[in-house]
């Protein structure tokens, strides 16, 4: 149908001044570039509370977007935005951001906490948060270099019950003290 219309329009010259009629549907870049106003160019965030999306796993992004849309994962703004997109859009943006280079950050972390966190993560978190949190596998987000205030806000949401922890993660997190968890987040924020 589109082709026929295009042929007719070309023949009659109706297209001479309008690019609208022959435009292709939005590409992954087209959809994803718009996210950068908040998440940074190619998903590398410079804002202290805004998460980086670069190099996140495709599944983790699609999963997050679906949970934002359904309301299962609490959000300030992502739930409202996710409602404007289809599953196919989620797939496109997840593909785009998963292909972007890891975004290292330099942030103010407490050295003693980083050391403590490093020791704790091995036994508690490294099974899922691979390579010191640098590798996002399946539905597990990249945590290395993620901004500390963002990680703290998300941990608060988990602790309050507003955001639901994966069961196996909850088993590991529950026995840890507030100080332990804080140390872990300092560690992940420091990894480059």
């Amino acid at each position: 149908m589109t082709m026929k219309w295009k042929g007719w329009a070309l023949a009659t010259g109706a297209l001479a001044f309008s690019a609208t009629a022959m435009a292709a549907p939005p590409s992954a870049e087209m959809i994803s570039f718009a996210c950068a106003g908040c998440h940074g160019t190619n998903g590398g965030s410079a804002g202290l509370t805004m998460p980086s999306l670069a190099s996140q796993s495709k599944t983790a992004i699609v999963d997050a977007m679906k949970k934002f849309k359904s309301g299962e994962r609490p959000s300030t703004v992502m739930g409202r935005l996710a409602k404007g997109y289809t599953d196919a859009d989620f797939d496109a943006m997840a593909t785009f951001f998963s292909k972007q280079k890891f975004h290292p950050t330099t942030q103010a972390v407490n050295a003693a906490k980083v050391k403590k966190g490093e020791a704790l993560q091995e036994a508690n978190c490294s099974r899922c948060h691979l390579e010191d949190g640098k590798e996002g596998k399946d539905d597990t987000p990249v945590m290395a270099s993620q901004w500390l205030p963002y990680l703290q806000m998300q941990m608060d949401l988990y602790q309050s019950g507003a955001r639901k922890m994966p069961e196996k993660m909850a088993e590991k997190v529950k026995p840890l003290s507030k100080e332990d968890l804080d140390a872990l987040l300092h560690f992940y924020a420091s990894v480059k």
């Binding site: 690019a19 435009a23 549907p25 106003g37 998440h39 805004m50 300030t76 409602k83």
Partner: protein, 431 residues
């Protein structure tokens, strides 16, 4: 020093401009600035739209030369300037960007000059420093004011009744006026009919100035005169903020279109029948596309905004010229994209992509974009509107639009996210 040089050039330019008939610039007289060898995109305006368009053209195709022309060496962000005006930050630097890193990282060539004309037939931009040839031109000049609609408004009015609707010296002026006002004074904000730059902006400003007065000058009051009959943006949120936090020192009055300004008597009036006196008057005049868009014949029949194609952002008035940001009138189905920094950023990317596609003889791609505007309602809480826009039947239509919950339960988190938004968008524009 810079200023001296600029005013000198303006003087020189004025003579040349007067000689050009019917707004057509005298190209013959000006020297060519940089001879064009390969394919070139010229961008006019290094603000929220222009910087992003320039950067993304280069990101998408390094074989295209990009030259950006901007009158100022530094750009001051309107977003968050209300914080500065209301004394919640003393740091104008966090609102200010330069262009050196953008130029170095992406090979965008900067020309600091005033664009004085565009010749669409010859594909030439005329500046006060010389001319530039282009294959495609992207224009993102922001807004200028329809001061002719306010009786008594002259070249000096904004120095006494600041608009502070372009950030920088105007923001400082309004801030200083507020700080030197005696306690017990009256502040007036007058805002124009929609469409204007940043729909929630005047309401955000009213909250933050009311917050300033409540904190520092408790006997003073603030009146917001809205030319619109009712609040045009995030109404449930702003009315709630006013009644919760500022009911003792703030008054909203709708349907008050200011038609006259008297800086001597310190008053503004509605149709000459109703006067409002103020110790500080923030008069935000009605707006239109930036002067250069008007001069270049890019505005539509309304003489205010630039009609463009909803995919390529190519002007429907002149081929080869694309307009983005506040200056545009986009074909819309339902409420249009607001004139915001986020919209300008999002449109710039769509435009850049399609300009590159057109230059490469490739198919254009349909619009998909976002607008989010954070507005502070106090010193520690913000609210937002979030919108997704897509193309439908040749027009831009919102597929989702929603505001923050009215119980302000997310206010503190959004205050923090808003700050990060500013940091990210300014970083995106300047690196």
């Amino acid at each position: 020093m810079t200023l001296d040089r600029r005013s000198f050039l303006k003087l020189v330019g004025a003579g040349a401009g007067a000689a050009g008939a019917a707004g057509l610039p005298m190209i013959g007289m000006a020297a060519e600035l940089m001879p064009k060898s390969g394919r070139r995109v010229v961008v006019v305006g290094g603000g929220y739209g222009g910087t992003i368009a320039a950067k993304y053209v280069r990101m998408l195709d390094k074989s295209i030369e990009v030259v950006m022309i901007e009158r100022n060496k530094q750009f001051v962000s309107c977003p968050f300037s209300n914080f500065y005006i209301a004394g919640l930050t003393n740091d104008m630097n966090s609102l200010t960007i330069g262009y050196d890193k953008l130029a170095a990282n992406h090979g965008v060539k900067m020309v600091y000059a005033e664009v004085t004309g565009i010749d669409p037939a010859a594909k030439k931009v005329v500046t006060d420093q010389g001319t530039l040839d282009y294959d495609r031109l992207i224009v993102s000049p922001g807004i200028d004011f329809r001061t002719e609609e306010i009786e008594g408004y002259d070249a000096k009015t904004a120095e006494i009744f600041p608009h502070a609707w372009k950030a920088g010296a105007q923001s400082t002026l309004l801030r200083n006026q507020l700080q030197s006002m005696k306690d017990g004074g009256t502040v007036i904000i007058s805002m124009p009919l929609t469409p204007y730059r940043c729909p929630p902006g005047p309401y955000e400003r009213s909250c933050l100035i009311a917050h300033y007065l409540k904190t520092h000058k408790p006997k003073s009051k603030l009146i917001l005169l809205d030319a619109n009959p009712d609040v045009v943006s995030k109404k449930p949120l702003f009315t709630k903020a006013w009644s919760t936090y500022y009911k003792d020192n703030f008054q909203y009055i709708g349907g008050k279109k200011i038609t006259k300004a008297d800086t001597g008597a310190k008053l503004v009036s509605v149709e000459g029948i109703e006067d409002f006196k103020g110790d500080v008057i923030n008069l935000i005049p009605p707006q239109r596309a930036g002067d250069i868009a008007v001069k270049a014949g890019l505005v539509g029949d309304d003489k205010k905004w630039c009609p463009v194609d909803a995919v390529s952002f190519e002007s429907t008035k002149h081929k080869g010229i694309h307009v983005i940001g506040d200056a545009t009138a986009l074909p819309s189905d339902g409420p249009p994209m607001p004139k915001s920094g986020y919209s300008a950023n999002s449109q710039a990317k769509v435009c850049a992509m399609n300009v590159v596609n057109l230059l490469n003889g490739k198919e254009t791609i349909e619009f998909s974009g976002i607008n989010v505007c954070y507005s502070a309602i106090s010193d520690h809480e913000s609210v937002s509107i979030a919108q997704v826009f897509k193309l439908e039947g040749g027009k831009i239509k919102s597929s989702a639009t929603a505001i923050s919950p009215a119980d302000f339960s997310l206010g503190k988190a959004e205050h923090a996210y808003g700050e990060s938004w500013l940091k990210n968008i300014l970083t995106e524009m300047s690196t």
